[in-house]
Symmetry: C2
Subunit: 234 residues, 2 copies
């Protein structure tokens, strides 16, 4: 007799329509109900039913803006659980060249809720560990004095990040690389700043894939000592 029951939440994720919606929300961007319906290939009524269930279960949150209602994942732990499930899901057989390219792109760089994942995410975490920016700490990682200076020079408010009601810096196991990338407040803030600076561009609205720009290649090397090539996925 455990005190939690896995089944209800898993059952919710287990419906193909809802899974597609959650996957789209892993991009980190709030999406309107109609957009999610279109992505999942169902009518607005059906989508609305599913979204209500997901909201009641606490997996997603909703914000009304005019006549639109924007949905997003309820939190980082939801994203982590989805990635953990992806890790044990068999690869879907690739049918088209376009799908294959899309899969490659996802593996190279994508968002996982609000932080960077894929080859790029793993490489960045490796560089931060090797460069004495991060070290082990309570609840996962912590910034070294060196790291604190570097991150603040990058334009982030480290003290402000600590006050948030979420973990400061922690690993998140990557389902394509099977090694961790950086999550938590620090991971999210760095990712947001990189996107603002144009180091990565979103490939398609509402999806998770990112493209590393030339500016990003330079920035990652200069700031974090992380060497990546943008050519890897065309």
């Amino acid at each position: 007799m455990s005190d939690v029951d896995l089944a209800p939440v898993a059952r919710l994720i287990g419906d193909p329509t809802r899974a597609t919606m959650l996957d789209a929300l892993l991009s980190g961007r709030p999406l309107a109900a109609g957009e999610l319906a279109r992505l999942a290939g169902v009518t607005a009524q059906t989508a609305s039913t599913h979204l209500a269930l997901l909201r009641d279960a606490g997996l997603i949150a909703v914000e009304a803006q005019g006549r639109h209602r924007y949905y997003r994942l309820a939190g980082e732990d939801v994203a982590t659980a989805l990635e953990a499930l992806a890790l044990i899901s068999p690869d879907r057989p690739v049918r088209s060249l376009r799908q294959s390219k899309s899969a490659q792109a996802l593996g190279y760089a994508r968002t996982c809720y609000d932080h960077l994942a894929g080859v790029a995410g793993v490489a960045l975490l490796d560089a931060m560990l090797a460069g004495d920016v991060l070290c082990s700490g309570r609840g996962g990682y912590d910034l070294t004095p060196t790291g604190r200076g570097l991150v603040e020079a990058f334009g982030l408010d480290v003290a402000g990040l600590r006050t948030r009601h979420r973990s400061f810096a922690r690993p998140c196991l990557d389902w394509t690389e099977r090694r961790p990338h950086l999550a938590g407040a620090v991971g999210a803030a760095i990712t947001g700043e990189m996107l603002d600076r144009g180091w990565f561009l979103r490939r398609r609205a509402g999806e998770r894939g990112l493209r590393l720009t030339d500016r990003g290649v330079g920035g990652l090397a200069d700031v974090f000592g992380c060497r990546l090539s943008p050519a890897a996925t065309g």
Copy 2:
């Protein structure tokens, strides 16, 4: 268009009967089909159907011994995914005093597939980080020179652990503590040795709860500098 589909695996976990079976297998012990049927409260036929589905999906593995067939989780990543799901599952309302005690016990010490979790698991990881036994490394943690000596003195073959086809030492987010405990080859080996030494006893066969013994209190303090009390859950 992602290249994996979360829905099939999540749907499997989403059935209450299968979820109960998987939860039981999180104890790390291989369990016979009949035992799983009894734990889940279904007939042998029904259980067999479910176990076949889980096996086909690669979530569990089976080993025949005589006329018994013993099932176990297919790997560490499956355990991680189950724990990640537990993390976002709402707490089941506690109805009886016995359930409440059982829940407390699970929160204090339990196995997560093959390594230690709960308050005790988190405390042990904290002590290992504070005691310069573990440090950040590729894919999670690595042993320091100090740590290597300590673990070998504890009776484990560190070189042998590295050759395994699994991660060496990595964090696994704990759903009761919401902070990581130690997983990977090192976590599993230390946990196995602790159980062999009688530092923890299983509360009920086939379930995950552990009880910290007096010998365990002493051992944890002496070997790992980890101070815990056995009285916390009676």
